[in-house]
Point group: C2
Chain length 166, copies 2
């Protein structure tokens, strides 16, 4: 039987490996230049006193080969929920159950926090991911769209509609 990857909670020492995986995913998602996050940002935001996210990593051959990263959200229908922002396995290590092990760990973590929902986003052309999620009991909703105002749009809006009450 093959040696399984170890799944553990990430530490700040993993930040560089985490960023490398994030950049690998951005290439897969056809947005190679979208990552402006730095290792320093990750260390500050994820491993300080009030972390903005939780991250689990998969370790094999003394390397970080996968991660599951998420954070709490809030549903005004259900209350506290958990969001899975990224589930990544390095290309050479796919097909060995590492993604499932990370996903499982994340869902167990969410369950331990007694949240009423775990949610995430999936690209509509990524059918193998959609199939996987549906097989595990998740529903993939078809009627919601994501709206985003980026940094430039925020500045433009603020300049157009200044508000003396802020």
């Amino acid at each position: 039987m093959k040696k399984q990857a170890t799944i553990r909670q990430a530490t700040s020492a993993d930040a560089q490996s985490i960023l490398a995986l994030i950049k690998e995913l951005a290439v897969f998602e056809r947005e190679p230049d979208a990552v402006v996050l730095t290792t320093e940002d990750l260390v500050r935001d994820g491993f300080g006193e009030h972390p903005s996210f939780v991250c689990f990593v998969a370790e094999e051959d003394q390397q970080i080969v996968g991660l599951a990263l998420g954070y709490p959200r809030y549903s005004t229908w259900k209350g506290k929920t958990m969001h899975l922002e990224d589930l990544i396995v390095q290309e050479d290590y796919r097909g060995k159950g590492i993604g499932f092990a990370l996903y499982k760990r994340f869902i167990h973590y969410a369950h331990s926090l007694q949240v009423r929902r775990v949610e995430w986003a999936v690209l509509d052309w990524n059918q193998s991911a959609i199939d996987f999620y549906e097989q595990t009991g998740a529903a993939v909703l078809s009627d919601w769209r994501t709206a985003q105002m980026d940094e430039h749009a925020i500045s433009t809006f603020i300049n157009q509609y200044p508000d003396e009450n802020i």
Copy 2:
């Protein structure tokens, strides 16, 4: 000139009015029974030492007639972001600019936190909302789907895949 609604940050005393607006939105979104949240949940989760969300309310005629409710998220591409979970104006008070005033306040709040993105979800059949968001500089993405595992599916998954490492 008409008297403008007052926009202010919510307090725990507003929880009952906030819940009434949340339930009104659930009816509009064709999910009238989806709200399991109680006033007590809202008070505990939103107005304690580590609040799970921030809420702005619009007050007119000594009533809460609208709200904008959101919380921080984390993008592994951009870093800290803000999510607008709900933007609601009571039906009788629509068309008076209250929704825009709440939206503006929320974006100013996000800008003050120096986030690199504000995001939210919109139903794909709600064209007037989509038009409004696009006019204010937001992009409505067409290729992402929302996946959700609800409370029942989480329990089923946990029972099917117990993990002794948790």
